[in-house]
Symmetry: C2
Subunit: 342 residues, 2 copies
DNA sequence: CTGAAAGCGCTAACAA
DNA sequence: TTGTTAGCGCTTTCAG
């Protein structure tokens, strides 16, 4: 911690001007490198003064006069409780940064009061716009204050499509997951879907169907089961899966796959030799470290954040009222092999 | 996204004053609820005008005149790659918020250029101070720009102790972990420590020794082994652990424990019946969902963030040059039982 | 090429 | 009790 007890006034542009023997406007011009033709010597004197005095432009003053900040707000409902939000932040920040914007992050952990206060704080700082993001893909009601600002929804969407949104393309993700198995020759592919109604549930199922269809396979309802979308759900579903006599299983998410691994093991079965498994989400801590490592499909959080600010800044736009759907890329690892009984 | 194409100038205090038929200073007084005695009627007219016009104070203007912002910066090296940073952010934000400060978050993902630019951006916004945090506990060199601002290190510290820091108390954590086992009657406790030199390695080992000592047990070097601090390391250490004939194992972190679970299972051994296991970190995705759930010791990330801003704001201070050490609380779950051969 | 001056929206004396 | 008036640090015409 610096000890300067607020004694030394910060050095301002005037100080620099004085030291360089020029006017503030001249300093302003060299600092901002405007087109103004400033004499080489004056310019040099200014540079030196800036260096000597350790001058830092005051962003607040600049923003004030420019009539708008270089802030982009990001309101997230779960920075703390999941690794996903981090990726969104990262993507949003990289893109914002690239365009000279700074991220103002507010974490609400689902608390409405925190959310309201976060939003109004952002409004007061005259943010360029705000990204409103949720940790799992779902429909949301736009919080009141946000109608006052440019807003884009990230990983969520408004039911009425009135607000631009960017979300993961669950359908293509479901397709990729199924394909991972299909490509290895699997023909009997079970799908352990979540029982929670959600875009993820519907989209992934649809993708699964499409992939089967594209491979000339029938859609067999007996091959899909709904489970709790976590380890417990996967663990409890082993018997059901075994009864399906599938050679490969597409799990709604990595945690279900993790539970399935456990259950399979207790039955003396091995992944992928006895059963190939593919997850969804690509939750690093899990997927990359299970034994064997889990083939899965990635939720494109980084990309969601990035694209979010892109649409906010008007660099790209969703077509029509539908959310911008971002691809979920497959991440092959070691949990899939060719079916033995093929 | 709001469609107002920048056409409508934002409503300012003057607009409110005009609408209410009073002067700006009067408006200022009611907005800020200063001690000034304002007539009830005038106050009411102002309130209504604010409401009608949808006035929002301009934080930048306010900060400008007040000569300092209400920002606290947080520079993190790994928001994206670990769930830990999220907790630090959360804690920092909660505390900052409570004191009227807003968090300015910058994610550097280890990139030096990003770090420098993040820091200078924060300096330009005249942040009250900045929290510099790392995702694992270690010594750092204070980045250049940070000497210009009040800084506190979070989850890291400067080798020379010149900058205030708040870090996890690894030693007490090690003690707690060992105690979890000791309390259940274990007397032969193995320690799978990391092989990476770090405060975590030294501190946890020391804590382990202390706990043994406090229980009247000798410190037996044969009971500690150094492994890679991840799943693979735990998995590969099974034979070694078995050879130690310990009844309980303290793993350097949850991932090692996870690997150990896998290895044990392959040997037909069960946790906790055949071997009690305790981890460290309390990484939710892992610890809370392994089978059986993993007893562990929590790294207090939320608290680190919280205390970090407290130190920054001068609400508390580390004693002397040593970092403020935050306790690592034990989190008992189901991976420990009484030793069978007791 | 460079400087003077008018604000940006707000706060804080100081007057009235 | 309320209004007037300086600025905060900076950008930006507009004159020299």
């Amino acid at each position: 911690m610096k000890s300067e007890g607020g004694t030394h006034r910060a050095v301002t542009m005037r100080d620099v001007a004085q030291a360089a023997g020029v006017s503030v406007s001249t300093v302003s011009h060299v600092v901002n490198d405007t087109g103004a033709r400033i004499g080489a010597e004056a310019r040099e004197r200014v540079r030196r003064a800036i260096e000597d005095l350790g001058y830092r432009p005051n962003a607040m003053a600049k923003n004030l006069v420019k009539g708008g900040s270089r802030f982009v707000g990001l309101v997230a409902d779960a920075i703390a409780s999941t690794p996903f939000a981090g990726q969104i932040i990262h993507g949003a920040q990289d893109e914002a940064w690239q365009h000279g914007y700074v991220l103002l992050v507010a974490n609400t952990e689902g608390n409405e009061a925190a959310e309201a206060s976060a939003i109004s704080m952002m409004l007061e700082h005259k943010v360029r716009g705000v990204l409103y993001s949720t940790w799992y893909h779902r429909a949301v009601d736009l919080p009141a204050g946000l109608t006052e600002a440019d807003t884009v929804l990230v990983n969520c969407f408004s039911a009425d499509g009135s607000t631009p949104a960017v979300v993961p393309d669950e359908r293509s993700g479901g397709r990729e997951a199924a394909r991972l198995l299909l490509e290895q020759g699997h023909r009997r592919i079970a799908f352990l879907n979540t029982r929670t109604p959600s875009p993820a549930r519907d989209g992934r199922l649809e993708g699964y169907r499409e992939a089967l269809g594209a491979a000339g396979l029938p859609f067999d309802l007996d091959l899909v089961a709904d489970v709790r979308p976590d380890q417990e759900g996967g663990y409890a579903a082993v018997d059901k899966v075994l009864a399906m006599r599938a050679t490969g299983v597409f799990c709604h998410n990595d945690r279900v796959a993790m539970g399935l691994y456990d259950g399979l093991r207790e039955h003396g079965l091995r992944v992928p030799d006895d059963l190939s498994v593919v997850g969804f989400d690509n939750q690093e801590v899990i997927a990359a470290h299970l034994r064997p490592t889990l083939s899965t499909v990635a939720l494109p959080h980084y990309e969601l954040g990035r694209r979010g600010v892109r649409v906010l800044l008007g660099l790209e736009a969703p077509e029509g009222a539908a959310p911008l759907a971002v691809n979920c890329p497959p991440v092959p690892r070691s949990s899939i092999t060719r079916p033995s009984e093929s």
